[in-house]
Amino acid sequence: MAQLTCSHLSLGYEGQAILKDLNFTVHAGDYLCIVGENGSGKSTLMKTILGLQKPISGSITFGDGLRPGEVGYLPQQTIVQRDFPATVQEIVLSGCQARMGRRPFYSAEEKALAASNMDRMGITPFARKCYRNLSGGQQQRVLLARALCATQRLLLLDEPVSGLDPQVTAEMYALIQELNQKEGVTILMISHDIVAAVRYATHILHVNRAPFFGTVEEYRRSPLFLSFAATEGSDQHA
């Protein structure tokens, strides 16, 4: 059974649909990249999957024993966070809030989980440092560690490499790939980097007036990708 099924999904704001009739499924261990032009509704789609806003019509079903809300979310950074006085440890721990329910304080188990996720992301040395003093790549690792505290099964990443320099971007992609391949974490990633998307992902969802969903191989043969390849030049995606 699929972890996530979207059928006949239409979404947008205030009754105005920006995406219509989306159909796709995500299975455990998939690496799905959502690509599309700016304003095509990628972030809206992610917010709808997360339950932050309601779809206009259609349905989103969680399966495979995945509860709604059992998703790790890596949002785009907000202005508030850029000068937020909090340590790395405090932020990573806050990923455990779904596990807490109504309990007001973190348990020893949750603290251990946060510590192990900081270790996985290689940010343990900064645990007591202030978030706002970290580099962009380090901040993304912090938010990734926080998302992993929420779940080990499905991560939703909203442009995780935006604003990072090329080397850090490559490191970030490698880290996400490792999570996907070695630990079997399902990845749903918004990206505007089609080149990287076809390189790392197993499936592509190209949101558009006529959305495309399929495996990377199918996407490479699709008119959407071919027209992109023609405009971008052939050297970038050999």
């Binding site: 809300g69 966070q81 006085p85 809030q97 007001p104």
Partner: protein
Amino acid sequence: MLDTLSMYLQFPFVQYALIVGVLIALCSSLLGVTLVLKRFSFIGDGLSHVAFGAMAIAGVLHINNEMIFVLPATILCAILLLRTGKHAKTQGDAAIAMLSVGALAIGYMLLNLFSTSSNISGDVCSSLFGSTSILTLNTLEVWLSVGLSVAVVAIFLLFYNKIFAVTFDEDFARASGTQVEAYNLLIAIVIAVIIVLAMNLVGSLLISALIIFPAMSAMRVFRSFKSVTLFSAVLSVVCSVLGILISILGSTPVGSTIVAVDLVGFLICCLISFIRSRASA
């Protein structure tokens, strides 16, 4: 000077003022960090004016214990402001400005039209700048203040981790099933309670200072949410006690003296942060 001070400290009204002052300072600083970081400072400012208007209405209606009327009215407006701030895409801040200035104007007009007091401008001045009300508290008001303060501190401690999560990243919190709207509402209600409490200490025009200064000062110097919160609480209490004592000794208005001490505290924190950045550069 110490003799004068110990003499004053014998008086119950001075003791009450100090107890209530410490509690109010503690409460107002706790949520200051959240307010500043969530860009909610405007709500604090708007509510303080609303509280002034409510107080005027309470006076006109001859309600003996004003807090009974002012507290629910302010809480209601807090909920209202939170909603307009969220939903109005444009002109949201203008709506808040209208509400707060409107409340201020109506309040002053009502006081002028219906006041039984012979000294209207004195009354208005004291509710705007809290010049004497802290020194004229009766026992009921003291206990009410103590009770509300304890409730505020208890709520803050109990929901500390949730408040952190909601402040740092609303979307993430909502995605992991946290009732963000409920916590925002809780924060707004607690702010309303704090503002009504703090009216006694510094008056309605200066309340924002009590909420914002300690948080801004602590954010200059400290790096973790916990240490920022703790330090702003300590700083706020110290500044308020100093302010009250100075005002007693120097016969200066209590509210503005406390705010002046808060300002000095902020400048000292700025200096520390400046020196530190020079040293590390």
